[in-house]
């Protein structure tokens, strides 16, 4: 699939995120909504769309040097998929650098498991996209500070 780049309106170095779904989950509506909303909030969005493997997501994320990977789930398969993504990031020694966000239909019972894996977010139905963008931006900044690159 084509990689679609959405440039942010603002000129300063924008937070860069990759947005995708894994496997055969085809709930595309939230993807369009998120792509637009994150861009409106000034983030740069690398849009990978649907039918991705964890390998592809991690490869493109590293090639594009994104600050965060944002993954949308509506199948309840999130634990398995995220386990793979986090594992690949660790192998590529990028787990510290790249923040991983998950959202969509993710039962609250699973949040602790995902948090222990290092996944952030879990913004569910009804969350304004601006709130999601703010959360991503804050986490990315926190990561950068942790690495001594912060302001």
């Amino acid at each position: 699939m084509r990689i679609i780049r959405a440039r942010p309106v603002a000129e300063h170095k924008a937070v860069k995120v990759l947005l995708a779904k894994l496997g055969l989950d085809d709930h595309t509506r939230p993807l369009y909504v998120l792509a637009q909303g994150l861009r409106d909030a000034g983030l740069e969005v690398i849009f990978l769309g649907t039918h991705n493997t964890p390998e592809r997501v991690v490869r493109v994320a590293l090639e594009e040097d994104v600050d965060a990977i944002t993954l949308s789930f509506h199948t309840l398969g999130h634990i398995g998929w995220l386990t793979e993504v986090m594992g690949l990031l660790r192998v590529r020694e990028a787990a510290e650098r790249v923040a991983v966000f998950a959202g969509g239909i993710i039962p609250e019972d699973d949040w602790p498991t995902l948090a222990a894996m290092g996944v952030k977010g879990f913004h569910g139905p009804g969350t304004p996209v601006a709130t999601i963008a703010e959360g991503v931006r804050r986490e990315v900044e926190r990561k950068k500070k942790g690495q001594g690159e912060g302001p």
């Binding site: 989950d25 085809d26 509506r29 634990i79 793979e84 239909i105 039962p107 009804g126």
Partner: protein
């Protein structure tokens, strides 16, 4: 109470953005002509109902979602049938791998296996019922449930929608034959509208020409062989609506797809007066009460007018199909789920006042997961209360003549006709897909709906207003007993069982026989013939879903797997 608290916050427009006046009167229905625009119920142009006596004679069919995502909290179908909770029909959804036309062990399936609903990938899954020596029967519950539904002659609805319907409809034909039941007795319907899914860019896994061929082959064959089966509903309006479009677009897209299929079937030699009324009109039952009613009334009228204007039928010969709704899941909220019971009731009441002949309610747990049995009971209760206690079923189309309802019915039809004309003037749906225009409308709609919510023009109680109503926790069974795996064991026990069953089948079956049947399917596909009979025979020779799809792909000159991740089995000599 303060004045502020008593102000309605949502904007005075319908859900589709049609401005609503403070009050309506005779001036708003000046052009309305009873005979031309309404007519008696059951008579052209069917605005007032498909049947003359509607619910006085027969209540609507209650659609019951079949096995959901891996049985979460539900009783088995066999038990629901025995208890009478399922008495007329049952919807059989499709799992992700079925929608994508691949086997459960495809690398894109993985942790999503069985999370749409229990996967059926071979006749083998049915074990004894299909005369197969399958000792494992990982999908016992599902297989036995649907086999019982077939035996009892219940209406089976294949709710795959994206054209992958043919895989399971032919699988069930094979099952009927193995059980010795005549195909002429096979009752059901399939949504079977691939165009919708290329329009919304959702479930468009395979190339459109492939899904188009499969969808039409199924329609053509079933119209000829299965008198009790509706092989398409002519347009999966529900899925399109749930992707973010409005009511006028919903009707326009539905009829544009219908026209695309009917035209092609006529080219294949079928007759519009024999098939035109067979696809049910299946729409989305939304929370906007009057707009839903108006849309349902407008839909019947559009059907009637299209039959006359486009297909040159005599108005007296036009038959109206049943009209069904699938109630909107996007109206449901995660916040305070018990409010969803109220939303379901309002959607259902609107559907009934719009004269539906079938409907399926959403569970109050819609946003969490599939429905526990509690939700099923509540929904049947809502339907029974509407039918028996409210009195709305005692007279047909009770809202006819209401200034607002008639004005809005006209307004929705008019809006839909303009969009439909635009689609047709651009060369029809397939041409609009090629230019990307129609997909753009859907994407724009999804963004608009979100914007309306975030800016507050549209109010969702407990989400962007009345947040205080969300705090008090009202206890409800919300399930989530579902095994979602863990970082240490990412596949659930059932997923492992299903994969083991597939592996076992591949070893235990007679591959020579399977290969022969697939080769025949390949030949038929290559020659451009209808593939249905050959598909049924391939199922009976124990081919799997992915093998059948791969073989048809090869027959059309495509590689075995759309994603290049799976190779054709070595023992299979096609291509």
């Amino acid at each position: 109470m303060t004045a502020e608290r008593r102000t309605i916050r949502s904007a005075p427009v319908t859900q589709s953005g049609i401005p609503i006046k403070v009050v309506y009167g005779p001036g708003d229905v000046r052009t309305l002509d009873y005979e031309r625009d309404l007519g008696e119920p059951g008579r052209f142009p069917f605005t007032r109902g498909t049947y003359p006596e509607q619910y006085r004679r027969r209540r609507w069919v209650s659609g019951v979602p079949g096995e959901g995502a891996m049985y979460s909290g539900q009783k088995p179908i066999t038990q629901l049938i025995e208890e009478g909770l399922i008495d007329s029909g049952i919807r059989k959804g499709a799992d992700y791998h079925v929608l994508a036309c691949v086997d459960p062990d495809h690398p894109l399936v993985k942790y999503d296996l069985g999370r749409g609903c229990p996967p059926l990938f071979a006749l083998w899954n049915f074990g004894d019922d299909a005369g197969r020596p399958n000792p494992r029967k990982a999908l016992r519950r599902t297989a036995e449930g649907y086999a019982l539904a077939v035996k009892r002659g219940l209406v089976l609805e294949f709710g795959h929608a994206n054209g992958s319907d043919i895989f399971h409809t032919t699988l069930f034909c094979a099952l009927c034959e193995e059980m010795g039941r005549p195909l002429a007795e096979f009752r059901g319907n399939s949504v079977n509208d691939p165009l919708a899914h290329y329009i919304i860019r959702c479930m468009a896994y395979q190339p459109l020409p492939l899904m188009w061929k499969l969808a039409l082959d199924w329609m053509e064959w079933a119209f000829g062989h299965l008198p009790k089966f509706r092989p398409t509903n002519g347009g999966c309006a529900y899925d399109m609506r749930e992707s973010g479009i409005d009511s006028c677009q919903e009707l326009a897209f539905r009829f544009a797809n219908y026209i695309e299929y009917m035209d092609e079937l006529c080219r294949r030699g079928l007759r519009i007066d024999e098939i035109g009324h067979r696809p049910a009109i299946a729409l989305c039952g939304e929370i906007d009460f009057f707009e839903t009613i108006a849309k349902l009334r407008a839909a019947r009228r559009m059907h009637a007018r299209i039959a006359v204007e486009r297909y040159g039928m005599d108005p007296k010969a036009v038959k109206c199909p049943p009209v069904n709704t699938n109630l909107a899941g996007t109206a449901m909220t995660k916040q305070q789920p018990i409010f969803n019971v109220v939303r379901s009731a309002i959607q259902a009441l609107a559907s009934v006042l719009g004269g539906v002949n079938g409907m399926e309610l959403k569970a109050y747990t819609e946003v969490m997961s599939s429905s526990p049995t509690a939700a099923l009971v509540i929904n049947r209760g809502i339907e029974a209360i509407i039918a028996e206690e409210t009195g709305v079923c005692q007279t047909v189309d009770p809202l006819a003549g209401s200034y607002y309802v008639e004005w809005l019915t006209h307004r929705v039809e008019d809006g839909a006709r303009k969009i439909l004309d635009e689609i047709l003037s651009k060369g029809g749906v397939r041409a609009c897909l090629e230019s990307g225009w129609i997909q753009g409308l859907v994407e724009e709609g999804a963004k608009r709906r979100q914007r309306e919510l975030e800016e507050g023009q549209r109010v969702l109680v407990g989400v962007n207003a009345y947040e205080s109503l969300v705090e008090p926790e009202i206890p409800l069974p919300l399930l989530d007993t579902l095994d979602r795996g863990s970082p240490e064991a990412p596949y659930s026990a059932l997923q492992r069982e299903i994969l083991a069953e597939l592996a076992e089948l591949r070893v235990r079956r007679d591959t020579v026989k399977t290969g022969r049947a697939l080769h025949e399917l390949y030949r038929v596909t290559r020659e451009g013939k209808n593939v249905v009979r050959a598909m049924i025979d391939a199922w009976k020779a124990d081919a799997t879903l992915g093998e059948i799809a791969g073989t048809i792909r090869m027959g059309l000159g495509l590689p075995w797997d759309e994603w290049g991740m799976v190779q054709k089995p070595e023992w299979l000599h096609v291509g």
